[in-house]
């Protein structure tokens, strides 16, 4: 058994009368590739926000590598090595692709003296091996100097994931990385993510179960704030409670996603 990296015990988050996340116990082991699925409003994003610290939980505790991080700010958690991408894109529109990467890289390997910080030019960092390699891995060389606001959705999503990977987090948390993308772009992203499997703990939220079923080793199904199934793909889908809501998840969601896109 590898070590447990994230663990939640009975985390609960209410928005007024709505219980968005309801006493969720969850754990993620090192280098595991896990998926969370669930219908609209199941509480997946809220659960992510609790783990990353953007909301404090109303009840329950969150542990990172055995350490209680329940009361820590997002920044403190990032400093411990956690990170994620946002459901809404977290790239910077008015900066070039390469500079978005430089900012992340710089954070991960920062020099802390004030003078060095003020005088370090982007150019010096633009050719760092890791940044060049990241551009290549995510197939972004050709848009290296383009402003993010001029990228296609697929390129932007790849950049977002590239930024998350470059930060070298202990856990790569991705909230719907495939949403709104064309099939061809989805293939590129899954292929790229596939290269991280075994080297990296990955937690991925996805609407369309069909896309991640070959990718994840373990699946968790959420419904109305609760975890209703947890285990292998087949195991989850044979669960009676999941069967009752599953068809909602895949069929209904495919429809609504296209409507939204």
């Amino acid at each position: 058994m590898s070590t447990e990296i994230i663990k939640t015990v009975g985390v609960t988050k209410c928005f007024g009368a709505l219980v968005a996340v309801d006493r969720v116990d969850y754990s993620l082991r090192e280098n595991e590739v896990a998926g969370i699925i669930g219908s609209n409003g199941a509480g997946k994003t809220t659960f992510f926000n609790l783990v990353t610290g953007y909301y404090p939980p109303d009840e329950g505790s969150i542990f990172y590598k055995g350490r209680d991080v329940t009361r820590m700010t997002p920044q403190q958690r990032v400093a411990l090595g956690m990170t994620r991408t946002f459901q809404l894109t977290s790239t910077f529109d008015n900066l070039a692709v390469i500079d978005n990467l430089v900012l992340v890289y710089f954070r991960a390997h920062r020099d802390s003296t004030l003078l060095k910080l003020l005088l370090s030019t982007c150019r010096r960092h633009r050719n760092e091996d890791k940044i060049v390699a990241t551009l290549e891995t995510f197939d972004l060389q050709h848009v290296r100097d383009r402003l993010v606001k001029n990228l296609s959705l697929g390129e932007k999503r790849r950049l977002e994931i590239a930024m998350a990977v470059l930060a070298e987090p202990q856990v790569l948390m991705l909230d719907e990385p495939l949403a709104g993308l064309a099939e061809s772009e989805i293939k590129v992203i899954l292929e790229v993510l596939g290269r991280r499997v075994g080297k990296q703990t990955i937690l991925i939220v996805e609407h369309k179960i069909s896309h991640v079923k070959d990718f994840v080793q373990r699946l968790t199904v959420m419904h109305e704030g609760r975890v209703i199934a947890d285990g292998g793909y087949e195991e989850c889908l044979s669960d009676p409670e999941v069967r009752r809501s599953y068809w909602q998840i895949d069929t209904e969601q495919e429809g609504s996603k296209h409507a939204a896109a």
């Binding site: 900012l103 954070r107 982007c122």
Partner: protein
């Protein structure tokens, strides 16, 4: 209007626009990044001017005085950021405005305590005149304009070439996301505030030889600097430069035509521009809280 009057009016407008620009950058950056309205920039402007006055008396060199003014204004703004603004970033915009107004008024009191209320003269460091299309123009005013352009270039390089500058631009877009990267946002705030304060000090120091230095000199330019920021578009350096020169020309040429116009015309222009483009010339619609 004679050509000579016009030329000297334009030069006067450029130099006063340069002063407005130097002060407005700080206000604009502080709003763009920290979402505060930093009226206390006008205090650093007076601090720059008074330091220039005193150091010129001691050393006999106005340029040394200006340099000292910049440094002290930077130090004072650093202290104010650490002691006061740090605690109120999370608050409402109006809160920062009232707090900074308090700092400004309190600071003016301190200035009165040290230097008294009598207006002080600062000598012009360069008496030379230069001939531009038949008009004698003071070289010092041209130097002020040149310094404003140098500062513009420096700020541009800083924001576009250094990592800290990129982080500030990213922060103007979305501070939470910058924080999410694990970048120390509070340090970015401090750096930005010091830059703003030092540039306000520079504005005061450069302006000192052209006016009389008095404790409430900041209040006299307050309205114009605000107009520059609003016309240019909050958070945009280029817009600030352009609008500073527009306001400078309007003030200068307006007063040639009819003196009361100088006070009024910039407001009219500001209202016109806001009617056509509510975000200002270069204001980004992204700048919403």
């Amino acid at each position: 209007m004679s050509a000579q009057l016009l030329t000297s009016g334009v030069i006067f407008g450029l130099s006063i626009g340069s002063i407005f620009f130097l002060m407005a950058i700080g206000l604009s950056l502080c709003f763009g990044l920290m979402r505060i309205i930093s009226l206390d920039q006008l205090l650093y402007y007076s601090v720059g001017a008074y330091l220039t006055y005193s150091l010129t008396l001691v050393t006999g060199n106005v340029w040394l005085g200006v340099l000292g003014g910049v440094v002290v204004a930077g130090i004072v703004s650093f202290a104010v950021e650490r002691l006061i603004f740090r605690r109120i970033y999370e608050r409402e915009l109006t809160f920062s405005m009232i707090t900074s107004f308090g700092v400004l008024i309190g600071g003016i009191g301190v200035i009165k305590f040290f230097w008294g209320v009598v207006p002080r003269p600062v000598p012009v460091p360069l008496m030379a005149q230069i001939d531009i299309i038949g008009t004698e123009v003071p070289v010092y005013r041209l130097i002020v304009v040149a310094i404003a352009f140098l500062v513009y270039a420096g700020i541009w390089l800083f924001l576009n070439r250094t990592i800290t500058g990129k982080a500030i631009r990213a922060g103007i877009e979305n501070v939470e996301h910058v924080e999410g990267l694990g970048i120390n946002v509070s340090r970015l705030f401090t750096i930005t505030f010091i830059i703003a304060g030092a540039l306000s000090g520079l504005a005061g120091g450069l302006h000192a030889p052209l006016i009389m230095v008095d404790p409430s000199m900041g209040l006299e330019v307050l309205a114009f600097v605000f107009m520059v920021v609003i016309i240019g578009g909050l958070g945009s350096i280029k817009g600030t430069l352009i609008s500073a020169f527009i306001v400078g020309q309007v003030v200068s040429l307006g007063s040639l035509i009819y003196a009361p116009l100088a006070q009024m015309a910039p407001f009219a222009i500001m209202l016109l521009i806001l009617l056509v483009k509510p975000t200002g010339l270069y204001g980004s619609p992204l700048l919403k809280r």
